[in-house]
């Protein structure tokens, strides 16, 4: 048990994944923390449309000057690689040490390289 919730029942939440039709769509939020840097995923929120998603993201994720630009993408449009296939999917990079600068053994006298 964590904290003082005090529930003695078995864990709850059927988490059937059913989304109530009444719910506003879910949006993924990306924030550029300062000019010159990438937008980075910070979290998600519900909003009825893109405009509201941007405004809510402003209120939720930039209350302390964390951002200068916001991207919002409706979550259903995000496509992701499959974690179950991660091993084989990224395997081709495993045996190509020659792609790294440290692979090359060079004399100490060689400078500026």
């Amino acid at each position: 048990m964590y904290g003082d919730y005090g529930d003695k029942e078995a864990p709850t939440g059927n988490g059937t994944g059913k989304t109530s039709t009444n719910e506003w769509p879910l949006w993924e939020i990306f924030i550029r923390s300062k000019q010159g840097l990438d937008h980075k995923h910070v979290g998600s929120l519900h909003a009825s449309d893109a405009q509201m998603a941007i405004e809510n993201a402003r209120d939720v994720y930039t209350r302390r000057q964390e951002g200068v630009s916001i991207w919002v993408v409706e979550s259903k449009y995000i496509h992701a690689s499959n974690p179950d296939e991660a091993e084989s999917f990224y395997e081709p990079a495993n045996d190509k040490v020659y792609r790294h600068p440290t692979f090359y053994d060079l004399p100490d006298e060689l400078t500026h390289m």
Partner: protein, 317 residues
């Protein structure tokens, strides 16, 4: 792959401090435990806005009012980070709200106590947020990625909550006799409920073992409670106030403060719905949800209309 194999891979990741992400395989009980813990944590942030919201209109100065509004707004944000983290496990937001309103999901019992004087705002920041931070800092390393990331965000913001609370009490403690009495009274009322925030003794705490094995939880309830007592017993001296516990005494051998027994009857009584404000808090949440229905509906219809209009314009062009 068999379930045993999957469980072994899962546990190896946990042992190796590799975070679990939503689409990764996980034992059903792990998922359920997280849904329960994260959603109840989210509910606590949301219900936690009520006792403090009570004082926004009566804050003693514009400065204190601004601080309090900022803090309450933060709590709303914390609730949102946590609801989003829980949603990645496959439960919908509406389902969680439903569980809060039906009483199936609980929230932190501390918020079932009333906020009677202005000094309660300071005491909540210092003691209640202080205890929450003690609980939450280890959760920034929880094994489930979205929970851990949400907690990092929460902890960053929570530090201001505790500091503003202590500072507010510090100012009052240097004030009139009446103000000093108010501070001591607030500490007297919030001290024991704050200790209860760490939950039952380790020997009584169900589910703890699994949560430790899964690295959702990293320290036991009693360990964290002791750390909190050690910290506050020192800080209270700066306020020139006392904690309401005659057994509180530094133990040179243990290098910790000893403290008196906690009234667990009171704890279970509040958990089971008989605290001073249980009904009031839940009623306020339900009322806000019901009265907000037309807003949710209006925004939905507005969005639909706009989409239709855009399509029409695109077709005409």
């Amino acid at each position: 792959m068999s379930v045993q194999d999957l469980e072994k891979i899962f546990q190896d990741k946990i042992e190796g401090e590799v975070r679990i992400e939503p689409k990764d395989w996980m034992p059903e009980k792990y998922r359920q435990t997280l849904i329960r813990q994260i959603s109840q944590h989210a509910h606590s942030e949301i219900v936690g806005m009520l006792p403090e919201g009570n004082w926004i209109s009566r804050a003693p100065s514009l400065k204190r009012k601004q601080i309090l509004i900022a803090k309450v707004q933060d709590e709303a944000g914390h609730g949102l980070y946590l609801y989003s983290a829980a949603e990645t496990l496959g439960i919908s937001r509406d389902e969680m709200i439903e569980q809060l309103h039906s009483g199936k999901a609980k929230y932190s019992s501390i918020f079932n106590y009333p906020t009677i004087t202005w000094a309660d705002m300071g005491a909540i920041g210092w003691l209640v947020d202080g205890a929450a931070i003690m609980n939450q800092v280890p959760l920034t390393r929880a094994s489930f990625g979205p929970y851990s990331r949400a907690m990092i965000r929460v902890c960053k913001e929570e530090s201001f909550h505790q500091r503003q609370g202590f500072e507010s009490l510090l100012v009052l403690s240097k004030g009139t006799e009446e103000q000093r009495t108010m501070v001591q009274d607030a500490i007297d009322r919030w001290w024991w409920p704050s200790l209860m925030m760490f939950g039952p003794h380790d020997t009584e705490s169900t589910n703890s073992e699994a949560s430790m094995k899964w690295k959702i939880k990293r320290f036991s309830n009693d360990e964290l409670r002791q750390r909190f007592v050690d910290m506050i017993a020192e800080q209270v001296k700066l306020l020139d106030m006392t904690l309401p516990d005659l057994d509180l005494k530094w133990n040179e051998e243990r290098k910790h403060y000893d403290f008196g027994p906690i009234n667990w009857d009171e704890f279970w009584n509040v958990v089971n719905g008989n605290g001073p404000c249980n009904k009031q808090r839940l009623d306020a949440r339900k009322k806000a949800w019901e009265e907000g229905e037309w807003v949710r509906e209006a925004a939905r219809v507005h969005a639909e209309k706009r989409t239709a209009k855009n399509k029409q314009q695109a077709a005409a062009a």
